[in-house]
Subunit: 349 residues, 2 copies
């Protein structure tokens, strides 16, 4: 691994996008989101996604220069059509629109349709908290889960989350998928020949299994059984149905369906604490809540209770200072892409 | 069990409240919520709660005639102070305020503080959908869960939910606690001498247990581990911190701390689909989503995939027609309370 500074990483990333026709301001807002994920240590959802995003643009599937439009029928609600643009471009636009509405009226709902995979939720949540807002957000995703009692895959792991500012402390940032465990973790167990914990997956006949191969051939389970099924549907409603966009199997895969745009939908519900109970009163309440969590006696000495987002905030500081650890091969690829070369996966395809 | 008509049950219930000084309109709005729970089959959160609520009023702990106030600093956000009134009175007021804001601007956030246990979420969600709104809602609750990694109880099971209307079909209604299983289920297993499934609880030392006695002496687990911990905190933020109300252990128990008001907080985020993508377009999208779920091949013949709220909507119809099944002793007690007698638990205390 080499350590790359935020400045270099952002510059190469922006150039990798502009090289395939993404307008500079769009590239910059996408890169802000992706680099924020890397800074927080959410490595799978940061700049490593750029080759796939760029490949889809080169294939003519993602729109490099979308005409993003906003339809607004109420003072605190808007729908954004992403015109098949890059996910982080559309998502960033949607978030900023929601914050603007919330600034005016106290609350803003924005649903985004015709977007793509938009990275992790945490960067959007962090951005909102830095502007002083609470933000409840989510996105639908390519389907990997079955509805409870069903034997066909019909729901994405549909992550949802919340960002909430704290005074003199890292923001509360929740960013969670509605599946118990990612398929990637099952693949890792399968490669090591290890069993998976009960509750992660069902086999193809709907029986609980601890065999990762059977789980991979079967179904990822939602958190809390029918509860997670309902939560995943909730995200499809808030992101997809309310924006007039794609839901369930209408959402396509970034990797398995390379011939069509993904049609992912996101939602952002921003709330300005200044317009509920007042900023200071809110921050005081947050301090009481977080202190009550953190002062809980831990089960293990030296492993105190953490606030969601706390580890990521620490990483953000360290990596902002020291740089982001990246594979040298990936850095080479990104630098080449910044000069206009195709991503390797495409070159070798 | 005897079958009691909605009309009789509502009349006795309203009188049971007015007999202890609750104004008639407040009593009616509380009873609408409680009877709706019974009609939906959520028997633990319906009229059976009235004796406890009335007892707290008679003890001078709950305020029978609260001066409920609204503070509004933005066009789409408001904070309600329930003045220690009955939960369903404060909750109903909060919900209606959120719907009114959403009708004007597209979205309405209302946080309610200084309330009490307000019953199930489903009646509020159902009310919102009948008015044509999507409503994301939740409530904090007396603490029963530990934060992940901690050995002290610091979080309620903090239920959250969503109501969303459907055309020519029962509304989507999600109403779920953030715990894997209720303590009541562990007590039932303990009484039968049966083990509980892994994942329900930890023992007092933080080890997974299938012994219900050890689980009862230990900790209820949140859904999805740290995910449910984060979700329960999210509810405390949206309900408690944003309303300037009680969070975590500041919320008191209906049954264990009878000498003080509970200080429960709720939140309602109502969205008018007419002001996002338009009502018809939204309902079309809901139909596509729900049809995709319901058409999933089931694991078991004759056990089709269900939409959250579907069973409850069927019960609502049946019970509206045939009456609500109730224990004759309870009916006697309620009828006596309607005439001014104290609830039995109080009489025998």
């Amino acid at each position: 691994m080499v350590l790359v500074s935020v400045k270099d990483l952002a510059a190469w990333s922006v150039n990798a996008f502009t090289a395939v026709g993404v307008p500079k301001t769009d590239a910059e807002s996408a890169v802000e989101i992706l680099v924020s994920a890397d800074l927080q240590g959410i490595d799978t959802h940061g700049v490593r996604r750029i080759p796939a995003y760029v490949a889809r643009i080169r294939d003519g599937i993602f729109n490099p220069a979308p005409d993003i439009s906003v339809e607004q029928r109420g003072d605190s609600a808007a729908v954004v059509d992403g015109d098949d643009g890059l996910g982080p471009v559309v998502g960033s636009f949607g978030l900023k629109t929601a914050l603007r509405l919330a600034e005016k009226t106290g609350v803003g709902y924005v649903g985004c349709r015709n977007s793509q995979h938009f990275g992790a939720l945490a960067p959007y949540a962090r951005h909102a908290t830095q502007a002083g807002f609470v933000c409840f957000l989510g996105t639908n995703a390519f389907t990997t889960m079955a509805p409870t009692g069903g034997r066909e895959i019909r729901l994405g792991n549909n992550p949802l989350g919340l960002g909430a500012p704290r005074a003199d402390a890292p923001p509360f940032i929740l960013d969670i998928a509605m599946s118990v465990a990612a398929r990637g973790k099952m693949r890792a167990a399968a490669e090591k020949g290890e069993p998976i914990p009960e509750g992660w997956a069902l086999d193809a006949d709907g029986n609980p299994t601890t065999d990762p191969e059977k789980g991979l051939a079967g179904f990822v389970l939602p958190i809390g059984g029918h509860k997670g099924y309902g939560l995943a549907m909730m995200v499809d409603i808030l992101a997809g149905a309310l924006s007039g966009g794609a839901v369930s199997t209408e959402v396509k895969s970034l990797f398995q369906q390379k011939d069509q745009p993904q049609k992912v939908c996101h939602y952002f519900i921003a709330i300005d604490p200044e317009k509920t109970i007042g900023r200071d009163a809110f921050l005081n309440r947050m301090a009481v809540l977080c202190d009550l969590m953190k002062s809980t006696t831990p089960f293990k000495d030296g492993a105190p209770v953490l606030i969601p987002g706390e580890i990521e905030a620490r990483r953000f500081e360290t990596r902002s200072e020291n740089g982001i650890p990246l594979d040298p091969d990936f850095v080479d690829e990104l630098q080449s892409m910044a000069k206009g070369a195709p991503p390797r996966a495409v070159a070798s395809a």
